[in-house]
């Protein structure tokens, strides 16, 4: 390439590693290796039962295929109930999430109120809806009421958190302008804050409706009503063909609902 020159010493180059400090790097790798050994060591596998699994799987899928739609009316009732649970839970959850989100926004709530709001929302999100469903079932009995209560709490946690974060990120200038006109607290809320977060709120509500529809299929497994209960019954009776049919319909409904909510959100933007 260029004319020959006196041989300079060879210059090596290595890619700079992801973690610069070698101590830290090897430390992390060692930690990872130790953890994996520990984890795999302590998990117990019943290998005989697992080996049984393949023939069992064959029987289940054989029995489950083709899916049976004989009890279609049962399927329909189950779905109708799931849908109702989802609609009501979304409504109550979204309505409740607004005051809690206002409470949990650092920029508009005083500290004690903020802490209370945040704590409520975190608590509402900490538990898997299934656990919450079990507890509500124990409290108010089997049926869709437990499902609605569960998913209302679930919606509160999810929508409340996102709404609070939205409120914390608003353009403060607009609020200042409202304050400058001498508006009271609620007027500021309605004119200065809500217009900034409401469009997102509608999108969030649609997303939550979709999410609740999925979740309502699941809370039914522990008795909180809806298609989940129907599924559990089918599994319990080893009626795998019906169970498969239910699963297919669940997947189809989720897909349709995802499609609709995506379309609606695009329209609203």
């Amino acid at each position: 390439m260029t004319p020959a020159q006196t041989r300079a010493p060879e210059r090596a180059w290595h890619k700079p590693p992801f973690i610069a400090n070698p101590l830290l790097r090897y430390g992390v790798l060692a930690l990872l290796a130790t953890y994996l050994i520990w984890a795999f060591g302590s998990l117990q596998f019943n290998w005989e039962r697992i080996a049984d699994g393949w023939p069992r799987a064959g029987r289940i899928f054989g029995g489950g295929f083709p899916p049976s739609f004989e009890r279609f009316d049962l399927l329909l009732t189950g779905f109708k109930e799931s849908f109702q649970i989802a609609v009501l839970a979304t409504l109550f959850g979204v309505m409740l999430s607004i005051p809690f989100a206002v409470m949990a926004a650092r920029n508009i709530a005083p500290l004690p109120v903020y802490l209370l709001g945040r704590a409520t929302i975190i608590l509402a999100r900490s538990f898997h809806p299934v656990i919450v469903a079990i507890l509500f079932v124990a409290a108010v009995g089997f049926g869709p009421l437990a499902g609605i209560l569960t998913l209302t709490l679930y919606s509160l946690g999810f929508v409340g958190k996102l709404l609070a974060e939205e409120i914390e990120e608003i353009d403060w200038g607009q609020v200042e302008a409202m304050k400058a006109t001498g508006a009271g607290y609620f007027a500021i809320l309605v004119y200065g804050i809500f217009p900034q977060v409401l469009p997102r709120q509608v999108g969030l509500s649609m997303y939550q409706l979709d999410s609740n529809l999925r979740a309502s299929a699941v809370v039914g497994i522990v008795g909180a009503g809806g298609i989940g209960s129907t599924l559990m019954n089918a599994f319990g009776r080893y009626d795998y063909a019906f169970a498969f049919a239910i699963l297919l319909v669940i997947i189809a409904v989720i897909l349709v609902s995802e499609g609709i909510s995506g379309w609606v959100r695009k329209k609203l933007w």
Partner: protein
């Protein structure tokens, strides 16, 4: 004259057509609501009694019973293992799927639809339902739980990674192709570095979600703390239930702290 002209002008917030749409939407929502409330299979007197019932359940759970704490802690660790191991294994399956499910990297249309179909199927079936299936096949135990988490997480990670791949800047790809590198080399240099931040964020997020999901797998027999929880509920041992719930909160908080830390460091 000017005042007259001004007086004739009216300001409305929404145009006529918009107003109709808004009223229509509100009416539709209201109808939906009324139908749901009237048609649902709830005995409404019970609803008014609900707060009462809930608080009485709460009373039965207090004070929390520390007796089985050792067993509970062991089960929590098992839950954590299930979530972590399963998330790690998911990565190996989800990444190739994301690659073929992304429009700009998929080899052909058949692969694209296959990849998308698998990811959608994975996402549409809830973790617990997968767990039910695997418990029926492989019996109760952690294997069912791990498989359930894997089968659900593949769809989550795969879809989001696929979207990340589709959103990359195409220009480095063009440059790498111009050097004469093969497909894999082009991907390694032009695609991978661009999706790295998204990859870490997505995996860390899913790990956090999986910790929560793993707590309930035991309810259908797939290992972890859920097994003890189900047992305690069946025997109405409410104070023990309370202890377990507190333990779950602690686990979730630990998970959130760890993932928050990782997010700050790795991204």
């Amino acid at each position: 004259m000017v005042d007259q002209a001004l007086a004739d002008r009216v300001w409305r917030r929404y145009e006529r057509k918009e107003r109709l749409i808004r009223y229509g939407a509100m009416l539709a929502t209201l109808t939906l609501l009324v139908w749901a409330v009237r048609d649902i299979d709830i005995f409404w007197p019970w609803v008014w009694d609900a707060p009462n019932q809930i608080s009485s359940l709460g009373a039965r759970m207090w004070p929390p019973d520390p007796n089985r704490l050792g067993e509970i802690v062991r089960a929590m660790i098992e839950t954590l293992h299930i979530a972590t191991v399963a998330t790690m294994l998911t990565i190996f399956i989800a990444l190739p799927l994301a690659y073929i499910a992304a429009q700009n990297t998929t080899p052909n249309r058949a692969c694209l639809w296959l990849g998308r179909f698998i990811l959608v199927a994975s996402r549409s079936v809830n973790t617990i339902i997968w767990a039910l299936l695997f418990v029926a096949i492989f019996g109760p135990g952690v294997l069912a739980g791990i498989l359930a988490i894997i089968f659900r997480s593949v769809g989550f990670i795969g879809k989001l990674m696929g979207e990340a791949i589709e959103e990359i800047d195409r220009r480095p790809v063009e440059a790498m192709e111009a050097t004469g590198g093969s497909r894999l080399k082009v991907v390694a240099y032009a695609v991978v570095p661009q999706v790295m931040p998204a990859f870490f964020a997505i995996v860390i997020l899913r790990w956090d979600i999986n910790i929560r999901e793993s707590t309930v797998l035991g309810l259908v027999g797939a290992g972890g703390i859920g097994v003890i929880l189900q047992g305690s509920i069946d025997t109405f041992a409410w104070p023990t239930v309370a202890t377990i719930l507190i333990a779950i909160i602690v686990l979730v908080l630990i998970g959130e702290t760890l993932t928050g830390l990782l997010r700050r460091e790795a991204i």
